[in-house]
Symmetry: C3
């Protein structure tokens, strides 16, 4: 298992971690298999979406914020229940196929860590299963 660190700068942010994943995959020497990307934080998530136009990320975060606004009406007293629900909806983990020592992503796809309660320093765990 490999661990990477991500430093977020805002309350909500999508950070492209594809370059880190490429490096981890290259260093592993594994040719084929799958790569599991796991977020261990309850107010963070992992998603795969468009990387070319940063406006897509801004739209995704803004839409989520409108649907799930910060509110004082939640039972959880830490004031971040909106972040927990966003984390549940986007999901904690993704699995990507590894082929010829490369992550198999679509033309426009990048892998993002989603911060929903930053800024914080976050970890992502990566596990490569050869096969």
């Amino acid at each position: 298992m490999i661990e990477i660190n991500v430093k977020t700068s805002y309350r909500q942010q999508m950070i492209d971690i594809t370059g880190d994943l490429d490096r981890v995959v290259k260093n592993s020497g594994v040719e084929d298999g799958v790569v599991v990307i796991f977020n261990p934080h309850t107010t963070g998530a992992v998603t795969i979406n468009e990387g070319a136009d940063p406006a897509v990320r801004e739209d995704i975060l803004e839409i989520l914020s409108k649907q799930y606004p910060v509110s004082s009406k939640y039972r959880h007293m830490e004031g971040n229940s909106d972040a927990h629900i966003k984390a549940a909806i986007i999901g904690s983990d993704r699995t990507v196929i590894l082929k010829d020592r490369k992550l198999v992503l679509g033309t426009w796809q990048k892998v993002f860590f989603c911060e929903f309660d930053g800024p914080r320093t976050r970890k992502i765990y990566i596990k490569i299963i050869p096969g």
Copy 2:
């Protein structure tokens, strides 16, 4: 493949299955790899979120119910389309990393079966891939 049973008591409920998963992992004797947790029900899901404060679970379920209320306007005549959409949004399966015979979860993370059309007796399938 190992099967565990979960008995739910309400229409909507998040049940912590981390203890069951720990037991399955321990009994398997597998040191390292990944664990796939699969929900075979179309009105259930699997999520990973905070386990310490039960209010987080209550907030998540309440927010989902407000966004996707029970309604008689749906085409599906069984009256549980809200449960099907919640299942699609949260997701049927999660993959967790296994290291040194233990599930690698974050400090506050627990694995939950999500019931959206209970009470029922439900199954969860678990598959460990060594690697």
Copy 3:
């Protein structure tokens, strides 16, 4: 890694790909393990839900469209930010258990490719990990 093609006919559509997956699994000769189903498109997704009543799919797509309508207010200028957010919410990939040369799905479950910005010709990548 195996690639299958899916041709969609509408802007939004859920296409049952379970038959394709069954064929891929059978041809592989693998008895046990897991099957990763990966969508390489940023306006598509993979979900597992009810296949028996087509009304469930219609309800899911209609609910998503009401929650995330097409809008000219988004920053992304291609006019399909609603499709990107739907893709993020449903998810790019699913992992299903393989047992005795068969996908282990629940009685009512089918695997669907979700089109959110069609009609298009789409690809799905499938990777079987024995174990």
